[in-house]
């Protein structure tokens, strides 16, 4: 049973088409993350759900009620803003209780709720302070507390961690995940950081140019993207894409000829009929170094050592650059000529229209 149903949602600004027919079903209690490049419409979608932007077409239904034309103040949603948007003239306690006071909730009940929220977010010692006397992380917690205290139907988060420094961001990410576990309330979260998306989400919605590219669990998106955009957007460093020169099918095996070499691929993993052209996609961790007889060869241009692993940037014979994930103590040096194996069980094939035509192998190892 869907809790929040978005159908054919459109948003135009004067000449700019920000949302082009969004359809999305959200189940109750789900943690949904909108992710996409800047300008893809993810914030607009969130703000339209919030009622801060008015839709130009389509409908939004929440808990069985059409809220498309309902003012944001009456939608029973809470939002955490990127800048936190705390009321600078109010103390932390007043910030937390503002919505309840507007709703004319009895005083003792307000105090009870504020106390329980401030205890759970460790805000007790800060209740009498003004926002400008708080650190970034503390402000962030107040903003979250302000949303929680109202017990809304859905929480909306608009890039809430982007103003925090790296260490704090990791910590707050964990706290948010814990919070979701504890409250079990539906949460919709916008971010441009795919690590946040992958770690927090039950399901991720990938948006591009005002449209949904794919919806799925983080692992689904990583292993079985629908198209080249999703495949390249998810995963750091990016997936390597190598053009296949020619290919032939024989005895249930597809042979892909590329770079004066060939790679075999089980034909039963191809959806539908063979396309006109194929591009092979392979993630850096599914390439491995071999002594000789590799699928392809290349010359090391640069090695990045990250401590726990290293990435080798390799120039292929056709001058294309690919990235290979190597062990942390790899002895690769610049200008080394290397032989590389492609783990075809993890490869993804694209047709000439950038759509994925392969299905991931059952039980394939996930390195």
């Amino acid at each position: 049973m869907s809790y929040l149903v978005i159908s054919e949602l459109q948003k135009h600004y004067d000449s700019y088409h920000a949302l082009r027919g969004i359809n999305l079903n959200v189940t109750e209690g789900e943690f949904l993350v909108f992710v996409g490049p800047s300008g893809c419409g993810k914030s607009t979608l969130l703000r339209t759900i919030a009622g801060l932007e008015l839709s130009s077409g389509g409908s939004i239904e929440l808990d069985g009620k059409d809220i498309t034309e309902v003012a944001s103040s009456k939608r029973d949603l809470a939002m955490v803003f990127q800048s936190y948007a705390l009321y600078p003239h109010m103390t932390v306690a007043d910030n937390l209780s503002f919505a309840l006071r507007l709703a004319k909730v009895p005083d003792n009940e307000i105090q009870e709720k504020v106390r329980s929220v401030s205890a759970s977010l460790q805000l007790d010692p800060l209740l009498d302070r003004k926002p400008k006397e708080l650190s970034g992380g503390q402000r962030q917690r107040v903003a979250i507390g302000r949303a929680i205290v109202r017990q809304p139907k859905v929480f909306l988060f608009d890039e809430p961690l982007s103003n925090l420094d790296a260490a704090l961001r990791v910590q707050m990410r964990l706290e948010l995940a814990r919070l979701h576990k504890k409250l079990g309330t539906t949460m919709i979260y916008v971010t441009h950081d795919q690590i946040e998306a992958m770690t927090l989400a039950d399901r991720v919605v990938i948006l591009n140019a005002g449209q949904i590219e794919q919806v799925g669990t983080p692992l689904e998106l990583y292993r079985q993207p629908n198209n080249r955009f999703v495949a390249e957007f998810i995963g750091t460093p990016k997936m390597n894409l190598i053009d296949v020169d020619s290919f032939a099918e024989k005895d249930e095996t597809l042979t892909l000829n590329l770079l004066n070499s060939s790679v075999t691929f089980p034909a039963n993993r191809i959806k539908g009929s063979l396309p006109k052209a194929i591009t092979l996609g392979i993630r850096p961790e599914h390439l491995s170094l071999v002594e000789d007889n590799g699928d392809i060869t290349g010359r090391v241009e640069l090695v990045e050592h990250l401590g726990s692993e290293s990435y080798a940037h390799i120039q292929l014979s056709n001058d294309q650059m690919i990235i290979l994930k190597a062990s942390a103590r790899s002895v690769l040096k610049d200008d080394d000529v290397v032989h590389i194996n492609i783990d075809s069980s993890e490869a993804i094939l694209f047709n000439q229209d950038d759509q994925v035509i392969s299905i991931i192998a059952e039980g394939a190892s996930n390195a």
């Binding site: 103040s73 809470a78 507007l102």
Partner: protein
């Protein structure tokens, strides 16, 4: 000389030069202030008296003259009164233009600015006649009307830019928290812009207080504010420099201090936000 010493020397020279020019430009004000503590004889002595026994007699005499208090009162009533009225009229207009702009908002703002460009001499005659026919000549009410209209565009502009600068997300947060437009204005916007409203008011008071054209032309004795009263000292009968200085010091001191506090707002207000 090391680079560091060179730099220090440069700073020293810059500082000395700046101090010299600043003292030079400030000298007339300083001299007025000093003269106000002299006797009339010391005030016109040649060479000028620098060291003397200061006396407060001038201030006492100026205070005792009931007309000084009347004129000071006129200044206070007209500048504070017109500022208050203008703020009441301007706040809703600026609020509506800043938060609910329409396609014509920009045109309206520029048109308001253009009314400020109308030279006072161009409308002196009809205003004078209208005031005469309606018994507004030499009345505080008349001056308050003029001052209100005179400063309304500046006040709307300044408030507009303050409202405009409020972080939009805070207002959106209030809306998400269930605030109606009225709640938003009273509980969020006004408390947040109280500083801006105050400095706008301060600027308006300064401009009214120092206004001379309308004050000189529309008032005589009853409603004349300090600007007009001081002008009467220009009459050649007798030299009362010390008393003039005392009266001037009292008339200017509060405004100079106000002005120091709102320099930045003054720039924004007078240039209509064109220089930030």
């Amino acid at each position: 000389m090391t680079l560091n010493q060179q730099r220090k020397l440069k700073t020293l020279i810059t500082g000395l030069l700046a101090w010299f020019v600043a003292l030079l430009l400030f000298f007339p004000i300083f001299w007025m202030f000093l003269t106000s503590f002299k006797t009339e004889l010391q005030a016109i002595s040649v060479p000028p008296t620098l060291f003397f026994e200061p006396t407060l007699d001038n201030y006492k005499i100026v205070q005792e003259r009931s007309d000084y208090l009347l004129h000071a009162m006129n200044s206070v009533v007209t500048s504070f009164g017109s500022t208050f009225i203008a703020l009441i009229i301007a706040i809703p207009a600026a609020y509506s233009m800043a938060f609910f702009p329409s396609k014509r908002t920009k045109d309206i703002l520029l048109w308001m600015l253009s009314t400020k460009m109308l030279p006072a001499v161009g409308v002196l005659v009809p205003i004078y006649i209208l005031f005469r026919n309606n018994g507004l000549l030499d009345s505080r009410t008349g001056l308050i009307i003029i001052f209100t209209l005179m400063n309304l565009p500046i006040i709307i502009w300044m408030l507009f830019s303050y409202f405009k600068d409020l972080p939009k997300e805070i207002l959106e947060a209030a809306r998400m928290d269930g605030a109606t437009p009225w709640d938003e204005m009273v509980k969020v916007v006004l408390p947040l812009s109280i500083g801006g409203i105050a400095s706008t008011g301060l600027l308006s008071i300064i401009l009214c207080w120092n206004e001379a054209f309308w004050s000189l032309n529309l008032t005589a004795s009853n409603a004349a504010p300090l600007t007009a009263m001081i002008a009467s000292y220009s009459s050649p009968e007798g030299l009362f420099w010390a008393k003039l200085s005392a009266a001037s010091t009292m008339a200017c001191a509060p405004i100079v201090v106000f002005g120091w506090f709102c320099q930045k707002q003054l720039v924004q207000g007078l240039t209509f936000g064109a220089v930030k």
